[in-house]
């Protein structure tokens, strides 16, 4: 594929009767997640990138090449933008077989730009056995994989994915996510991924753009953005229906010692170390962890005798009351990691928690998000 990272720059404005989309961002990331509640303008935004909708003003460029420019009137039609688009509903062509669907766009790809290899993509998506089938003979997950393959076969410069897993049940979602990781890593194809499912985003994205009522409310590397409370409150189930998540902390970890004498795996998070039951990993491997705030307890003294394995010391850096019974406490560890804990109001009062109070964070459970199962602390 292309040398170096693809640079996508977007500034655009589009007004509707009841809301205005007004955004500016650029990205060189492998997978940028576009995140926000329904009606935030996510689909309108990627439709503008694909050329399916026309912004009122602004500019869209990929590696400096202009796709849209409101001042000069440049507006490339979708068929010449060479941007792949995977829709929420697969939209396969009913009168073509799977293979014919896959090859649909081939005649339109300029030879000099073609990088897609049919056999490699079929292999990557595991759809070799489906090639002769008709679309109506496929399951939902199979359809979506074929739709991804069909978009990849046009050798796109960027792949847009609009909630590609939203119509699938949770088990199928888990089946397809590794394929998306493969595309991101093996094909080095930049992906812009629309979702309102936190699990998908934590697992797949390295960059997050949060859209709210047509505006970008947060934008940056995943761990920075997701650990901000005002962002997290937007993820609550109330706002998102299913796929919403409880408050928690996302951490990047590196495997330090895959297997020690106690059958534990040591993970370093910055300069802190966490232990989880032994996993099938190799030393130096990077993992993404999520620690739910309700799985973190706080103590004023280091518990001398307790079954909890992971205890980090730090200080309270923020206290937020989100409901009458609970208090969300942000702890900054001695090694400057951030950790959210959700405790009851009563505990907060009893412990006399306030900004700057030294505490010990007791971590009951760590979820490994990079394709591996949640690991409960063996207490």
């Amino acid at each position: 594929m292309s040398e170096g990272n693809t640079h996508i720059a977007v500034t655009l404005r589009k007004s509707f009767a009841d809301f205005t989309l007004d955004v500016a961002f650029d990205s060189t990331s492998a997978l940028t997640a576009l995140f926000g509640p329904s009606g935030a303008g996510k689909t309108t935004l990627i439709n503008c990138l694909a050329g399916l909708e026309r912004p009122d003003s602004g500019a869209i460029t990929i590696n400096g090449a202009t796709l849209f420019d409101g001042t000069t009137g440049t507006d490339m039609p979708p068929e010449t933008r060479r941007i792949g688009y995977v829709f929420q509903d697969a939209r396969l062509f009913p009168h073509f077989s799977v293979e014919e669907n896959m090859r649909f766009g081939l005649p339109y790809v300029p030879e000099s730009d073609a990088w897609a290899d049919f056999d490699q993509i079929v292999d990557l998506l595991g759809i070799g056995a489906l090639l002769d089938r008709a679309p109506h003979q496929l399951s939902g997950g199979e359809k979506q994989r074929v739709a991804i393959g069909r978009a990849l076969m046009t050798s796109p410069r960027v792949l847009l994915m609009d909630e590609p897993l939203a119509n699938l049940d949770p088990a199928r979602r888990m089946d397809i996510m590794p394929f998306i990781e493969h595309i991101r890593d093996a094909l080095k194809l930049p992906i812009i991924y629309v979702s309102h499912n936190v699990d998908e985003i934590v697992r797949l994205a390295d960059h997050v753009v949060i859209l709210d009522q047509g505006k970008i409310s947060a934008h940056g590397p995943l761990t920075d953005v997701l650990n901000r409370l005002e962002v997290q409150s937007a993820f609550r189930p109330a706002a998102f229906g299913d796929g919403g998540a409880d408050l928690g902390t996302v951490l990047e970890a590196r495997v330090q010692e895959p297997d020690d004498a106690h059958h534990l795996t040591a993970l370093s998070v910055g300069d802190d170390v966490l232990y989880v039951p032994r996993m099938d990993v190799t030393k130096g491997q990077n993992l993404r962890l999520r620690i739910a705030a309700r799985d973190v307890a706080l103590a004023l003294e280091k518990p001398a005798q307790a079954s909890i394995l992971n205890v980090l010391d730090g200080t309270v850096s923020e206290l937020v009351q989100n409901d009458p019974a609970h208090m969300d406490v942000k702890v900054t560890t001695a090694h400057r990691q951030i950790l959210w804990a959700r405790i009851t109001q009563r505990s907060a009062h009893d412990l006399g928690l306030a900004k700057g109070v030294p505490v010990y964070a007791l971590i009951k459970s760590v979820a490994i998000e990079s394709g591996l199962p949640t690991v409960r602390d063996g207490s």
Partner: protein, 234 residues
Amino acid sequence: MMGSWLTPLETEALLLSLKVALWAVLVSTPFAIGFAWLLARKEFWGKTALNGLIHLPLFLPPVVVGYVLLVMFGRNGVIGAGLYDLFGVTLAFNWKGAAVAAGVMGFPLFVRALRLSIEAIDPRVETAARTLGASPFETFRRITFPLLLPGLVTGLLLAFARALGEFGATITFVANIPGQTRTLPVAIYTALQSPGGDDMALRMVVLSVLLAIAALAASEVATKMIRKRIYGEP
């Protein structure tokens, strides 16, 4: 052979009917697709009026349609005079005029069948084709057109059957001229008007019934084949 039990006059009427109906349907096909697509997919000023105009032949007495055609396409008609001056073509009192009358009468049925078929095609699938590199024309050629084929076959049959049966507009517009405008229905009418023509009329009635059954069967087979190709239905 056909000649053994059909008189030359009857054979002539049958062949003329087929020729008139085929031309009527062939010439109206691109227009029917165009109007059906406009009505199914586009919103524009005057859409309701256009829809009404296309359906008018369905509600008007055929004689009225024939009269309007005569006024418009006759040698001195608004359009007829222009056609003659520019191309030397005249529609009055010949088989071409009969084809126009038959085509106009079948047009609403044709457009209706196509419109339903186009409305059943998910426009989002066409959008997907655009994002895969297909221009609007390529999208129509490779996606929309193959998907509207079942509707096209249905529409073709309805329009063809209507054209075969056309009587009122034909006789009003282009009269009753043997070999030119005397199609099967007109010939049946003529036979019934002449003394001792009952046998001839009866034979042509049987012929009409056989023709209708054959057309229906052909369209059923064609639709089945297309559906099987598109959706793999048995």
